[in-house]
């Protein structure tokens, strides 16, 4: 895919403006930081030092969820799953957080060829979609959001999305709201109904099986599809070579997600492993 030049990354500290549970086990944290608020691009992430000691040892990466340049803040949205996110959930407003960023490349939008974008978020994969929808609207691209979760209670940031677009499709695995089943099938159904595909594209973030399936759907309809990946990250800056994903290109069997990603064309990645 076209190479993008990421914004300069640095080590920053920022004050936490709030950090609250927005759904069971899911928190949203707002950090005061003018530079990130102004310069970060959709799909980029920050790498947070969640503790001053060695537990956990590595930083923890989180997508930038939303930004507000005038108010100098940005948000992350995260699920509490292990020691790092547990510690993060304990941070109180007023405390100072240390992070590296903005890191990685970003979703690419070209208004000359795209009029409508499908933004597909699975679970916490919704995180980059708020900043992305905002970004697209500024570029006159119409965002249609597809949001899949296990159950209604996990839905986050709907008001943010609704403020940006009225086209929001929801699928839940348990059928508690929206379509029952996987969000990929809603995307498939949507695409099937279209009459032309050349001004469409897809942006997606979520579990690998979802991205894999979505890549297949996109290929079927010949719609470009950019996916944002997650892997374990030792450094986040391209130094440890720990964050690889297998590609379909035997000349370059791996891509490094932190530096060459996290955003890739779906077709580049080999999700089979």
């Amino acid at each position: 895919m076209k190479k993008t030049i990421p914004t300069d990354s640095s080590i920053h500290t920022g004050e936490v403006l709030f950090n609250k549970e927005v759904a069971p086990g899911i928190c949203r944290m707002r950090i005061f930081h003018d530079e990130i608020a102004r310069t970060s691009l959709p799909g980029q992430f920050i790498n947070i030092r969640v503790s001053n000691n060695m537990e956990p040892f590595w930083r923890r990466p989180f997508s930038i969820h939303a930004t507000h340049a005038d108010e100098h803040w940005f948000d992350i949205l995260y699920r509490v799953i292990g020691i790092g996110t547990q510690k993060l959930a304990f941070v109180k407003s007023g405390e100072i957080i240390n992070f590296v960023g903005p890191l990685g490349n970003h979703f690419i939008a070209d208004p000359a060829i795209t009029k409508t974008s499908l933004l597909v978020g699975g679970g916490l994969g919704i995180a980059p979609m708020v900043i992305l929808a905002h970004y697209l609207i500024q570029r006159n691209i119409h965002p249609i959001v597809f949001y899949g979760v296990r159950s209604q209670s996990e839905l986050c940031s709907l008001p943010d999305l609704q403020a940006l677009t009225s086209d929001i499709y929801i699928a839940t695995e348990d059928g508690s709201v929206g379509q029952t089943g996987y969000i990929t099938e809603s995307v498939d159904a949507f695409l099937r109904q279209q009459t032309q595909y050349n001004e469409l594209n897809i942006y997606a973030c979520g579990p690998n099986p979802m991205l894999d399936r979505l890549g297949q759907i996109a290929e079927l309809y010949h719609v470009p599809c950019q996916v944002s990946l997650e892997t374990l990250m030792g450094c986040g800056i391209g130094a440890c070579l720990g964050c690889g994903m297998k590609t379909r290109n035997s000349e370059k069997p791996y891509v490094y997600v932190c530096k060459e990603g996290p955003v890739f064309q779906a077709g580049e990645i080999d999700f089979s492993e």
């Binding site: 374990l232 440890c240 720990g242 690889g244 994903m245």
Partner: protein, 303 residues
């Protein structure tokens, strides 16, 4: 006079802080975070004759106060290194040490031979201690005869500073150090990672695709200090200490144990500007303690 300057063979480092191979890429990765030229020296990712994609993933795992890796010497290969990475490294105002490895004894010679013609290289660190490759690596570095052979071969073809990087996964590291010293090395650096392993008990799968890997970080610092001390009693060459350094106190600990310089590895992943912080803190230490030369700290442990 620069209080932090130290000497390794024919090299003067402006301070004792080097970067550990494989943790600092080819230098440019860290350019956004501090002025890389401030380093005492930069040791780049191990270079091999051919490009290597490295081992399968997952390649890294978090462990108590440390991490495991099984990168497997993924690197761009010597050609791309010379054409793509050297220009940036050459532009830096710091000592440039290239870490090299081979999969046969002769390959080491071949790699260094190729680099001899390249400008802007101040020395070689010879990786005979990688635990993550099948041939060569730690198998060479745990054998004093092979260590001596590789060292002697390289000594005949280069006058550049020659540093042999040793593995701790041996019964007596001082035997290997002595072999390297007797065969003409200018210095030994230690330690490379300890062989380690972790299993995810939920999935019952090893946390590394290669099953075992190399343990680094603060967890191994006590082992590294003991090895540096052991080697310092055994040979008179300058020693470069490596293992778990997170801050200036850790550097002083290595130097007191007998190291002339140190390498900062895994810590770069946690704080990409940690080397700059350490260099500044070493300056302050020398001021505060009225130390004229940091060299006075070397081997200064009181018994």
């Amino acid at each position: 006079m620069n209080k932090l300057a130290v000497t390794i063979g024919n090299l003067t480092l402006k301070n004792p802080i080097l970067t550990a191979s494989g943790t600092f890429g080819y230098g440019n990765e860290y350019a956004p975070y501090f002025d890389v030229s401030a380093l005492g020296g930069l040791i780049s990712k191990t270079i091999t004759l051919n490009p290597r994609a490295g081992n399968a993933f997952p390649r890294i795992a978090e462990t108590p106060s440390g991490m495991l890796n099984s990168i497997g010497l993924a690197n761009v290969g010597i050609d791309a290194f010379i054409s793509e990475k050297m220009p940036y490294l050459r532009s830096l105002d710091t000592v440039n040490i290239v870490n090299v490895a081979g999969f046969t004894i002769d390959e080491y010679t071949e790699v260094v031979q190729r680099l001899e013609d390249v400008d802007g290289i101040d020395g070689y660190e010879v990786n005979i201690s990688c635990p993550n490759v099948k041939e060569g690596g730690v198998a060479f570095g745990s054998n004093p005869n092979i260590t001596a052979k590789i060292t002697a071969n390289l000594r005949t073809i280069t006058t550049r500073c020659l540093i042999m990087k040793l593995t701790p996964n041996v019964t007596r590291i001082s035997d290997i150090a002595r072999a390297a010293a007797d065969a003409g090395a200018d210095s030994v650096s230690l330690i490379n990672t300890l062989v380690g392993m972790a299993i995810d008990v939920r999935t019952r799968r090893p946390k590394l695709a290669t099953i075992t890997g190399g343990l680094s970080g603060p967890a191994i610092k006590p082992v590294a200090i003991a090895r540096v001390y052991e080697v310092a009693q055994a040979i008179s060459l300058p020693i470069i200490g490596i293992g778990g350094i997170m801050n200036a106190d850790d550097v002083l600990e290595f130097m007191m144990a007998g190291a002339t310089a140190v390498q900062v590895g895994t810590a770069n992943f946690i704080d990409p500007d940690v080397c700059m912080t350490i260099i500044n803190d070493l300056h302050s230490y020398c001021e505060r303690e009225a130390i004229q030369s940091v060299g006075a700290v070397i081997g200064s442990m009181i018994m």
